[in-house]
């Protein structure tokens, strides 16, 4: 009797582990499905709208973008965004003059800092914009990056 209970218990646990492992149990912070609208938007405003809903993008000194003044290779431009505020939910990185401005969007869990670093492609000299959603409001900062060799089409 004891053995059967033990086996049943083990089976249930391993089934649960298998379910979680296979992704059937959704993690607490649910990630939105890939936003085709946002990534195919042709303007910064359209993309931010599709991602975060409409709202005023308030320029803020609390959002800092680190990017080279001149990018020798437009295919690999290192960008980092730091935020000096609480409650940062998401950061989106956009390249104003790319055919589709939205490059990447990040959503943070509660213990994750409002910081992100990555590398993006820029087609030509353009403003790189960080759009931040914090406490339900939208903030942004931009930096002009000069590109000598474009990185979108080759």
């Amino acid at each position: 009797m004891k053995r059967r209970t033990l086996l049943k218990g083990t089976l249930a646990t391993s089934a649960a582990i298998a379910a979680i492992g296979s992704g059937l149990v959704t993690p607490r912070a649910v990630m939105a499905a890939w936003s085709k609208t946002a990534f195919e938007a042709k303007s910064v405003d359209e993309a931010v709208n599709a991602l975060f809903g409409s709202g005023n993008l308030e320029g803020s000194s609390k959002v800092k973008i680190k990017a080279p003044d001149i990018a020798e290779n437009g295919r690999v431009v290192p960008i980092s965004v730091t935020t000096d505020m609480d409650g940062v939910e998401s950061i989106a990185i956009l390249v104003e003059k790319n055919p589709n401005p939205l490059a990447a969007a990040f959503t943070f869990g509660s213990g994750t800092e409002g910081y992100i670093a990555t590398r993006i492609k820029m087609g030509k000299t353009s403003s790189v914009i960080a759009a931040v959603k914090a406490n339900g409001k939208l903030y942004s900062a931009g930096k002009e990056v000069k590109v000598t060799i474009g990185g979108c089409g080759g």
Partner: protein, 105 residues
């Protein structure tokens, strides 16, 4: 596509700095091959990072993220030995994941 992720998570005081480098072509779909044909878009669309089973970062990427993408983020409240897992899925439905432990420098 197995074994495409290199990841390191290092504790610096109270903060864990996670750095990852992923091998992936991140094709925009605009490049042409030698015959003049467009190389189809092939890029990572979703990246998720978990700390001890809880999602701490979820990313949506487009083809404008550079080839062999680099990613770094910072986590609070992790301890040495905690598990950090990273998984990506691309537009073709391919995926890979790996995990690492938080290390003290």
């Amino acid at each position: 596509m197995p074994n495409t992720i290199k990841i390191r998570a290092k504790l610096a005081g109270d903060t864990t700095v996670v750095k990852a480098l992923i091998s992936h072509p991140m094709e925009t779909g605009q490049r042409k091959d030698k015959a003049g044909k467009k190389i189809p878009a092939h890029f990572i669309q979703e990246v998720t990072c978990e700390h001890n089973g809880k999602v701490v970062l979820a990313a949506q990427w487009g083809p404008a993220v550079s080839k062999n993408p680099y990613l770094s983020f910072r986590l609070k409240g992790a301890k040495a030995g905690d598990v950090i897992k990273l998984r990506w899925v691309d537009n073709k439905g391919e995926s890979d994941e790996t995990q690492t432990k938080v290390m003290v420098p």
